[in-house]
């Protein structure tokens, strides 16, 4: 199961499968099929079977997938059978929305520390967390075992703060800055850019 062998596009779909299966746990039937899952997601059943085949045998001919089991396996593959502490950097409007978002906890993540560079924000409370000075990330993140960060700072500051996060031992960054952030190969960045997504929509409209 060497991670480099599996295309990233496959990995990007696993959280979507996990999300859909988790919602389908409310339903009576403990099993599902690639056909049913595909219909819910607008993905072909062949694609789903092919994606999952990278990780071994999951379903059974005829009975399909045991939802609970497949959820457990996807959680293990994505390493969210545990809970990850995440640093939130940036206590502006986006940071505020993230700090109050209640969808992290039951899916493997917990905002554990909040940082900002604005003297007016440092020392204030955000959803029960003290906002720390970004200058203290190297001091505070490693002893707390935090290797993930959400970056919600203005585009102009994003690369500098990303550098500081890398120095502080961060291994994964979810960035809300609409720029491409350069990091060492050992660090993984995903960005969330609403405009890029809107442009992807308008292509089809």
């Amino acid at each position: 199961m060497a991670s480099t062998d599996i295309p990233d596009i496959v990995i990007s779909r696993l959280p979507i499968y996990l999300r859909a299966l988790t919602r389908m746990m409310d339903e009576v039937n403990p099993n599902t099929s690639s056909k049913e899952l595909g219909e819910r997601l607008g993905i072909s059943s062949a694609q789903i079977r092919k994606d999952l085949s990278h990780f071994g045998e999951f379903g059974k001919q005829g009975t399909g997938y045991d939802k609970k089991k497949l959820i457990d396996q996807l959680r293990r593959i994505l390493k969210v059978e545990r809970e990850w502490d995440v640093a939130l950097v940036g206590a502006g409007a986006i940071g505020h929305a993230l700090a109050h978002y209640n969808g992290f906890l039951d899916r493997g993540f917990r905002i554990a520390m909040i940082f900002d560079s604005d003297p007016h924000k440092i020392g204030t409370q955000l959803n029960g967390f003290e906002v720390y000075d970004v200058a203290r990330m190297s001091e505070l993140l490693p002893p707390n075992g935090i290797v993930l960060a959400m970056l919600a700072v203005p585009a102009e500051a994003a690369q500098l703060v990303a550098n500081q996060l890398v120095e502080a031992g961060i291994k994964g960054i979810l960035s809300y800055a609409p720029i491409n952030i350069a990091v060492p190969e050992t660090v993984r960045v995903q960005d969330i850019d609403p405009v890029a997504q809107l442009q992807r929509i308008t292509y089809y409209v």
Copy 2:
């Protein structure tokens, strides 16, 4: 240039190329190359050339791409050479962050109307916009020519509101709800789910 012929994964990269090229306009050299662009983005130059080749001939052997020209062509392909009015549905924390986000305008989008279902929010102002009742979407969206929406409502309400958006003539939805929304084939949905992105990161960490 039939849109159905081009893989969606290619389309998803075009906004990223456009974003990077736009930032590179600050630099002296009016030209760039697939090699330079690839290095900035962590994408192979062959991939970039292949992606762009779907849309015709852009670069010249030896001199590379004229950045300004390539930007104009990408804008035309993505249909953001014009400005799109967008409805924002949901005036909670995420809606608040989106309403105050200043990165839309120069990339082709403008929040034009805001809706919520909460009687306490309806009639209030959000960043200069009156918050309208979601029940009025069918009345207000078509005469204003709005075909795009950002959906920032709780997961439980998202499918219902999406149905109402479709009835109101919306053709593209950027959804912040962490669920898969079912829409007719004529409507395009992209979702932004920070947890799915974090899970994609933890796979590699």
